[in-house]
């Protein structure tokens, strides 16, 4: 499990405006579409993040179509990478690259499902609760706080221990992970919703006669998109890591290939002790790189949520120039 980033809670309600000001400050017309404003600015780190995430996602989506059957057994066990098997073979001569492709797909599937489920839960408990206020909000926020302090993975392990193996399909694992993983996002969303809810444009919409659901979905939600995106991305990383952990201790989804189960088999096949790094290292590396890709995307989304961060980056070079100019001025 990853640790969480202690999250700054910036004033999201100001962010669009500040971003627009920044855009105009750069001498450009601020972009017409609000959607465009909410896109993170392309920085080398973001590009790296997108490339990492996209390449790995593509590998998971298209990889299985291109590789050989990952279950095919060959007499050549544990062969190092070669022209024939680009990433070598496992103990039973199965092609590591092929397994990696399927396992990546499996992990992505779980990560995505958990991300979606956890986000939906956090939207319901965070946004709806905060919008309604009163007892509903008290109840929802108590619930999410309780879920936040109850340690997730041990709970998941206990649940997985109770669920019979054959019922432990990948979606069961996903649901369990989602149920134990929505609370942090919900808390962040709640705080942001509370601040947006007190904004005049929400009151204005109500005065115009908008209905509650429309106020939530049309007036509040779009402004939360960067936060939601960031929480979603975070949930996907956490889910992939958690599933890998579960699979590694033998509690993962039964009969489904994920990067975690791959590591589990590599570990049981003494891959590391035998120096078969090509079997042990790639699955972990894919998780780490994919996680890094998503985290870098989040890093850039953070700039949308809190434009001060962007300011710092934008001004970095200019500040240096300003300092230099000032120095030459003086002397």
């Amino acid at each position: 499990m990853t640790n969480i980033t202690p999250r700054v809670e910036p004033d999201i309600t100001e962010s669009t405006r500040t971003l627009a000001l920044q855009a105009s400050g750069r001498g450009k017309r601020p972009p017409r579409s609000a959607w465009r404003l909410m896109l993170p600015t392309p920085t080398p780190w973001l590009v790296l993040g997108l490339v990492l995430a996209a390449v790995i996602a593509l590998f998971g989506i298209l990889g299985p179509l291109l590789v050989t059957d990952p279950t095919t057994i060959r007499d050549i066990g544990m062969t190092p990478p070669s022209g024939e098997h680009l990433l070598g073979t496992t103990q039973t001569g199965q092609d590591v690259l092929a397994q990696l492709a399927y396992a990546t797909r499996g992990s992505l599937q779980i990560g995505l499902l958990v991300g979606v489920l956890a986000t939906v839960l956090s939207l319901v408990f965070g946004i709806y609760g905060a919008y309604r206020g009163g007892l509903v909000d008290e109840g929802f926020s108590l619930l999410s706080n309780v879920f936040l302090v109850i340690p997730g993975l041990p709970l998941v392990i206990v649940i997985a221990g109770f669920v019979p193996r054959e019922a432990r399909g990948w979606w069961t694992i996903a649901i369990v992970l989602a149920i134990t993983g929505w609370a942090a996002a919900s808390r962040v969303l709640r705080a942001q919703t509370l601040s947006i809810r007190s904004r005049d444009y929400v009151a204005a919409a109500r005065v115009s006669g908008e209905r509650s659901w429309r106020v939530i979905t049309v007036e509040i939600l779009p402004n939360l998109l960067p936060v939601i995106a960031s929480q979603f991305v975070g949930a996907v990383i956490a889910a992939i890591l958690a599933e890998a952990g579960l699979a590694f201790i033998g509690l993962g989804a039964s009969n489904s290939a994920t990067l975690g189960t791959m590591l589990f088999y590599a570990q049981n096949g003494f891959a590391l002790s035998l120096g078969a790094w090509w079997w042990f290292v790639p699955p972990g590396l894919i998780i780490a790189l994919f996680g890094m890709g998503l985290a870098l995307i989040n890093f850039s989304i953070d700039e949308v949520i809190d434009p001060k961060l962007k300011d710092v980056r934008l001004h970095r070079r200019r500040a240096q120039r300003a300092r230099r100019l000032e120095r030459t001025n003086r002397s």
Binding site: H315, A319, L325, E326
Partner: protein, 290 residues
Amino acid sequence: MTTSRRPVLTVDGLSVVYETESPVHAVSDASFELGAGEILGLAGESGCGKTTLAYAINRLHRPPARIAGGQVLFHDASGETIDVLGLAPDALRRFRWSKLSMVFQGAMNALNPVTSIRAQLHDTIRAHRPRTSRAEAERRSIEVLERVGVDPARIGSFPHELSGGMRQRVMIAMAMILEPQVMIMDEPTTALDVVVQRDILREIVRLKDELDFAVIFITHDLPLLLEISDRIAIMLQGRIVELDAADRLYRDAAHPYTRKLLGSFPSLSGSRGDFIRTGVMADETPGGAS
């Protein structure tokens, strides 16, 4: 227009540029003199560069802002003249607050929320007079709090425990704790209620009379400036377009912008200014231009 009093601060041709993609000349060629014990008002609409100017005087501007030219000279009471823009970092640190202190635009948030008022008053003294004893620092802190009308018993409070008006008073107390010769006040009362604002203005004028420091008072509330300032500078797009004694500026302003600004304020007891309730509108600015 120069002042008849002994100058404490001379700003000469000061220019500040924000080095953004298209550089913003926030302050261009600003020159004025501040006399000892004088209140100099600085007015202008939002974004004209008032705050930038105030920061630049104390070299508080942060990159990407840079001082593109000009001079800031501080004429110490001792007779020495300090070139503020040329001070080395440590000398600058010592100069700040002891000679020239500031009360900021967002004074509501200018106090550190996690330490007590006492700690913040004390560290101001200690930073400049390291040898001050605790007791002495405490005595001095209580004294200035009393001066601005804050109950000294509140010295152990944290900022969030004080009302906005009290916080502003604490800021003013802090600004005078080292008895500086100049105080720059950047919209010190805009966030406050009219009644409270009045109390604080009265306090500032009284303290100034007692302690004889000079004040640069920044606001966009021209009627207010007219009431308290000796002289008023009008800023437009980074330039000081007019600088004159308050009453003269009110009665016969030279610059059209000044006149327009004055016209924007309907008088409480007098005529309506440019406000038209009935009849044809002369000055309803058409949209499009922002």
